[in-house]
Symmetry: C2
Subunit: 295 residues, 2 copies
Amino acid sequence: MNSAQKLEFSENTKLLIIHADDAGLTHSENMATIQSLEKGIVNSYSIMVPCPWYYEMAVFAKNNPQFDYGIHLTLTCEWENYKFGPVLPVSEVPSLVDENGHFYKKREQLRKNASAEDVKNELQAQIEKAIKFGLKPTHIDSHMYSVGTSSEFFEVYRDLGEKYNLPVLINEQLMKMVGLNPELNIKEGDFLIDRTYVAEFNFDTGKLGDYYSWILENLTSGLNLILIHPAFDDNEMKGVTMNHPNFGSKWRQIDFDFFTNEENKTKLKENNIELVTWNDIKNRKIKVTNTGNNK
Amino acid sequence: MNSAQKLEFSENTKLLIIHADDAGLTHSENMATIQSLEKGIVNSYSIMVPCPWYYEMAVFAKNNPQFDYGIHLTLTCEWENYKFGPVLPVSEVPSLVDENGHFYKKREQLRKNASAEDVKNELQAQIEKAIKFGLKPTHIDSHMYSVGTSSEFFEVYRDLGEKYNLPVLINEQLMKMVGLNPELNIKEGDFLIDRTYVAEFNFDTGKLGDYYSWILENLTSGLNLILIHPAFDDNEMKGVTMNHPNFGSKWRQIDFDFFTNEENKTKLKENNIELVTWNDIKNRKIKVTNTGNNK
């Protein structure tokens, strides 16, 4: 039974979330995300609470509850010149930061150095900060899926979903991508995204747009998720993503262009794709649970 | 006796510091500041330690000790969508922040709410953070000259200069600009900048460049300081300075253009202006003190 069926859609339904990660990272990312929601086919996004442009995005989210948004739980900062760290004082979560008080660049550093206790406290503080500001997130997910760097962190992540009654992005491909064994770490009762698409190797070859077209034209039934990172290839994003062509400013511009392009919008209908939000999922899950159909 | 004479320059010497404030604020500000130093006639700058792009600028400063730089002590964040707060945990300096943990937008809010103790701890933490990173600042000054919002804060500011053995920007015009009485707040032994120029009212009328030309052509003898804010009128700066035309992105672009323009460079020689850095001032002061000429 695929996850669409678990939500009482028919077996052949091709459900899709087109999700913009990294809102709050920069002004560029914010503006592109907003335009992708308003003019494009992006239908959900998530916000990085520890980032410098969080406030701008949080104000937008609060004023625009018609758009589905979650918290993009953040434990890493992969950029060379642009740095941020925990929302908690570094003295309270010392295992999460480097000598300058910034998040580590790589998942591997996080895995080696971080304590589950600090991970828990920091991620909870990020959610609490958003809620205190008046946000009503529809889900939680994880920047660079770094919660998957250890089983312990992954449990913290799942528990936060339970604590705040929020759907949690759990997906086998993402777990494998970060080296977490799905067999050992998926529990009974976890709600899974059937297939997640992240363009990992399609940028250098100039095939990023082709890859997105391919996904839409070949989507299979069940619950699907495309993770993108819309932003503009402008001075700010060039500065942020310096020496990081993967998920760099040109890549993000292509993400923006593809998912706001009129021609690509028609691909949804042509391929019988039904967009679904995390909020839809949450409500369906509640309904299924209440009617006792949650087998 | 003017301050040039106190530094043992001749009575008629027209000394000038062309100083870029706000380095660290944004990537745009950093890039424009660096180009103004490398290609323009800007000869000193100061860095805002609590700002999101501090790290990029700090790395540049450390690697380029040939350029004179100070710490732009920061207690306010005047922008609408772009927010930052203290380097200390907000729980340690609660009187400096609004309900979201950000610095106040206006000097008046700072004056009303802040305790001198919190001001002292935060400003000291900013200097300590810079020093710990390996920076060797040549001076301290103050963002929006907000240290001048009360006599108590001003004493903290002066004391920090003494503690770290750094020249402190003290100037009558700036004090008056923020409502601090120079007669009551300048002490014997304070080293004063004779005249400071900040373009407060010349942007709306389209006369900003003319004003800078006028300054160079009419400079009088003594120690003069022009405070500018070079940045680019790009997406990032437009986002930061939204609804804030004063010191906005267009204004900052003019600052950049004027002080990197070849024609304007020649105005220095034509008008017998001698550029001087804060480091020069520091060394002269030490020399004068040691030779007992510091009357």
